[in-house]
Amino acid sequence: MDLTPSDEQRLLRDSAERFIAETYTTKLREKNAAEPLGFSAAIWKQFADLGWLALPIAEDYGGLGGGAVDVGILMESFGKGLVSEPYLATVVLGAGLVAEAGSDAQKQELLPKVADGSMLLAFAHAERAARSDLARVETTATRSGDGWRLDGAKIAVLDGRAAHRIIVSARVKDEDNKLALFLVAPDAEGVTLRDYPRLGGGQGCNLTLADVKTSIDARLGSADALPMIEAVTDRALAALSAEAVGIMQTLLDKTLDYTKIRKQFGRPLSSNQVIRHRLVDMSVACDEARSIALRAAMMADDGSVARGRAASGAKAKIGKGARFVAEQAVQCHGAMGVTEELDIGAYFKRLLAFETLFGGSSHHYRRHAMLSGR
């Protein structure tokens, strides 16, 4: 039993923190937001060069074989910089699903390219009627000629416009409505893509699939995809939780700095006991978030119940804490906090997006309860 990071993990943290501090400035963020895909190809290349894209990919497929804790270290730093590169979509979700569900041939084809930065992926799963229920999918896959035909509508596809392949979940009519995953090219006929700037950075899109034809080998593996989707989503929850920790910590740090300097009625804001105690509560929330995010990462490879409880617990608790920290950071910044003059608002929005993604706190507390047999 040991919670001290390894030397490799310390190095990873140092290099990520340095990268964010030196490179990922507000200016870069603004530049990225103006890019057609919402991020910078040059930065993505840097990620590849630093080995970050290869980090959680198995060594057999050109990766470094890192675990969820390592990804968490990276994500926490990404949170501090509000990184908008599609790491979650491509590496955590996309490569994660390929690794989990794909055949060896599919892994050999796709994963090394993800690792070297030449392949971007996205995951199209959520549907409007499903809300946060992972099992609820109405998109259908039908055998058609020598391939598949897909029909349905997906929302909240993270960074779908940038992806070379979108992994689409659908129910296979001929197989008792089993859930399956299909690789779809975004420019395939019948695919309509409405993209939009995403709250807090990055992009998203809604996807309509009308009579979309794919080849027979577009299907990732052949087993029931739901357990795999759950496993990968739990890993995404752990990664997002770590990212949220970085965002929360940054908001706390900025608010501390601001309230120490900013004077009202002749005294710094932080001389108000009410503000001081609130900062303490924000700091407690950050500390707890760090604890529970680490726990979710450390349990990401456990059995589905323990893993799911840890992931949903982290998402739920950090959701609550993030809301508190974000709202109080804005409140303590006063009028400046509710404008785009400072980047407090940008961090606020990213945390709001965190809360929304994959379902909010009450959804995840309920999932936690359900997995506990309640």
């Binding site: 009627a129 909240a156 709250l199 006063g334 009028a335 404008t339």
Partner: protein
Amino acid sequence: MDLTFSAEERAFERDVREFIAAHLPAETKRAQSLTPSVFSDPEVIVAWQKALNAKGWVAPGWPTQYGGPGWTPAQRWIFETQCALAGVPSISPMGTKMVGPVIIGFGTDAQKNYYLPRILAGDDVWCQGYSEPGSGSDLSSLKTRAVRDGDHYVVNGTKIWTTHAHHANRMFALVRTSEEPRQQEGISFILIDMKSPGVTIRPILTIGGDHEVNQVFFDDVRVPVSDRVGEEGKGWTYGKYLLEFERGGGIASARLREALKTVAAFADSDMTGHAIDDPDVSLRLSEVEVDIDALEMAELRVLSAMQTGQNPGAVSSMLKLRVSEIHQAITRLGVDVIGNDGLVVEPMRPLYTLNHEPVIPEALLPVVPKHLNGRAYTIFGGASEIQRDIIGKLVLGI
């Protein structure tokens, strides 16, 4: 004690409903429902204000001699409730609720005769020049100076968080006309023509992406001394009077109730995958509704007290606190109800000028911006922390 209306009151309620049905343009209603900022743009309000003015209903709080309708508190309640129910945009408070009462209370006859009818007609669009960079909720520290030069003041300095400065042709402002040991002294209340040479405006985007507030710079701006309201150096008193007016909650519960109903309707629709089936959403709808019930009773108690001539007193800070918190609870619930669709940012502003099919249902577009902008409710007009200081002092004696 009685929560029901008399026959006269029911008749008045019918009149108001009919008046709204006859005079509220459909496009005004749509624009209002697509407005995620705190105040509605003047262009959204203008037609409605003209209709109201023709009826003499623009300024319920004004004495009849200046054009107020002479309503009882119950009638004001009924009017506000019907307006809320119908989705009517609020008349800008800058004129009717802010500078108007100060002019009525402390202005010269010439000022009254000139400005008050123009406020009612909407001929002037007003903005408020109180806050300055660095002053926040501590207004007494303001630095914008007005130096006497013959029968003019020459104004230099800057104001910030100026709502609708970019629409306004008039500003009422607190400026420093002399240096005094007590900061509150030496401040005067003046009216500035926004078209004067030397006035420049820098837009400030809100966290929700809206252009509602601005920073205004004054560079040797000349203001006639005749546009000072009340005595020189007593501006702080008038400003405080007005702030109390601003804080004096008034009748907010009716509009909050409609805002909650809108969220509930979203939750009960396909647009959100029937979020209402989530027991948490359903319970929170009840929680906020009961909060509004309590607020409504508090507002009615104040109205009843006013009807018998009592002063509502520091209760206005308490109402301000609750109104802002309830507002935020509603907008927050909205965000949770629309779920993944909250990730969509629609950059077009104003939203009501949108002329393409949005990525998500049009009605959902203002939900997230409203929540974002709504964080300002506990900051503007005296932050909640300041309100608690005030309540502690005035109500609890601590």
